[in-house]
Amino acid sequence: MGETERAHACTLAEVRRERTVRIKRKTPAIAVNSAKDDLRGLAAQGFTASRPLRTVPAMTSETVPVIELVGATKRFRSASGGVHTAVRDLDLTVAAGEFVAVVGPTGCGKSTTLSLVSGLEPPSHGRVAVNGREVTGIPEGVGYMFQADAVLPWRTVLDNVTLGPRYRGATTSDARDRARDWVGRVGLGGFEDYYPHQLSGGMRKRVALAQTLVNEPRILLMDEPFSALDVQTRGLMQAELLRLWSGTGAAVVFVTHDLEEALVLADRVAVMTAGPATVKQVFDVRLPRPRDAEEIRLTSDFLDVYREVWESLREEVQITRERMSGRVA
């Protein structure tokens, strides 16, 4: 088992290297697709849902990638004083308007990847670019919904949502108008004057969503935004996210450990390796839009992609699990 995995990882590394080279020569979209051609030999056969040569959201000359990670590596000083590599040699490109989901086992480095893109953390190595510019500090037009609740507990729902516009120099009344609009759009009309502790967990997530969306980000980073919610609320929030996102043309990077969620939402799903994270494989999700978040998971196409991606993800989850049980023992 371990042997085959290593062999597998080896081939993947080669593929990746090759892809990196191609990225430098051609446009990234084509490069990714050709890499997927190679990967097809590795993936289990017989799944038709994910054809490598699909038309990715019209990749023409005007769609330069809005997010570009090339060989990005992030190291932290670990608690014991050593060096811990959270992200290693990670390549990922996201086109404008594209919805990319990132799945991977727990602790592999998904949040760290987002913190690189958001400019909150600089990479130790490699290139991170947003809108074609190297990331130094927080790039313009980026919204980030954090994994942990980041709603200000001392501000009401409305005042929390006014934060962004106020920070960006809007007048009080303008900020309030825009905030009121967004509070309504995420379905919290009537709760404007509530404090966060008076809301349910799902409602707090809606506040965070409105707080992020009111700035009308061109790039939206979301870190397991719905993982703390119960299944029904999560389904509801997924549907609402799709509704709010459609037509905005914003690029989304959506981190989750829920593969079903990833497939319901995304155009492409990037599977991460067990930590240190790097992109193992990227799958196209060829499901029609607009999607009904509740219905689509019952279709056979969905189940086909699910099986294919899960095949890839399962190995990494297995590795993480073994490591953890090793640590516990």
Binding site: L120, Y144, R168, G201
Partner: protein
């Protein structure tokens, strides 16, 4: 659009009203019982003191409630050895409030600045520790020499006591600001000043308010001790004079007035705290109606 909880203002069914009113009644009964027992305790305490001072112990040393009451009536209806009692109270109060305000503002400002700047905090840490270790109450004597017998020496003493109490809490509060909140604000577009004003200050507020309660007590102690060390007016002087004339009832009477002032201040601070910390969930065990 469906919501996770019921909409506000939905009509409540009648048995819910009943539950609320019966819960309210239970709370009222409890409050009454608590107040009753408290009054009883005070009565027993004062009564036994009065009795034992009359029959068992020497009231010259220990005084007794009736003598203290008499002294208070004396002070308020006639005058003290240094003029009207109201002059003394207002004098001490002015010193305490001035010291409290100045010390509070300085403590909050410096605490937040140092809490947000690792480098300055690291540089100043040993000096602050040393300054905190000084028995500050002794400074009262020094301040009388520096600033004379007037108000300023007492304000200085109150200031020093308040400053350190507030400073350490503000420092801690500014340090423990949730990094997630700061990062979120940065992503939303906040600059340094905006982060300080909208994130750091509010999240340090509960720490600061907690310290203000004890700080006003310190301000009064500073003022009274300052007056003790040398003054021409004030409650501290009154107490000092009572000590000089072996008037134990006078000492108690002064103490009672100071205690009342401190209680009123405490009440005002609690109101302020409620206003500023409205956003917090009600602490369990408060007098909220719970069903």
């Amino acid at each position: 659009m469906s919501h996770d909880v019921a909409l506000p203002g939905a009509a409540a069914p009648t048995d819910e009203d009943l539950a609320v009113s019966s819960a309210r009644a239970a709370v009222r009964r409890r409050k009454l019982a608590v107040t009753g027992v408290r009054l009883l305790l005070v009565a027993v305490w004062l009564g036994s003191w009065e009795l034992s001072a009359t029959y068992l112990i020497d009231p010259f040393y220990y005084s007794k409630p009736s003598a203290i009451g008499g002294k208070l009536v004396d002070w308020f209806t006639q005058t003290t050895a240094f003029g009207s009692i109201w002059t003394q109270i207002s004098y001490t109060l002015q010193e305490a409030v001035a010291g409290f305000a100045l010390g509070g503002v300085a403590g909050v400002l410096l605490g937040i600045v140092l809490g947000r700047s690792r480098f300055v905090a690291d540089v100043l840490a040993p000096f602050i520790k040393a300054a905190n270790a000084i028995p500050r109450i002794v400074l009262a004597s020094l301040f009388v020499i520096w600033f004379g017998l007037g108000m300023s020496s007492k304000i200085a003493t109150a200031f020093i006591l308040v400053f350190f109490a507030v400073f350490f809490n503000a420092f801690q509060g500014a340090r423990e600001v949730d990094r997630g909140l700061v990062n979120n604000a940065r992503i939303l577009g906040a600059g340094r000043a905006q982060i300080l004003w909208t994130i750091v200050v509010p999240s340090a507020t509960s720490w600061i308010l907690a310290s203000l309660h004890s700080a006003f007590g310190f301000a009064i102690i500073g003022a009274v001790v300052g007056e003790y060390s040398g003054a021409d007016k004030g409650l501290g002087l009154l107490i000092n004079n009572a000590q000089g004339t072996f008037d134990s009832a006078g000492i108690y009477a002064g103490m009672i007035i100071i205690t009342l002032i401190a209680l009123v201040a405490e009440w005002l601070l609690t109101l302020l705290e409620r206003r500023l910390l409205r956003w917090r969930p009600a602490a369990s065990g408060s007098h909220d109606v719970q069903i």
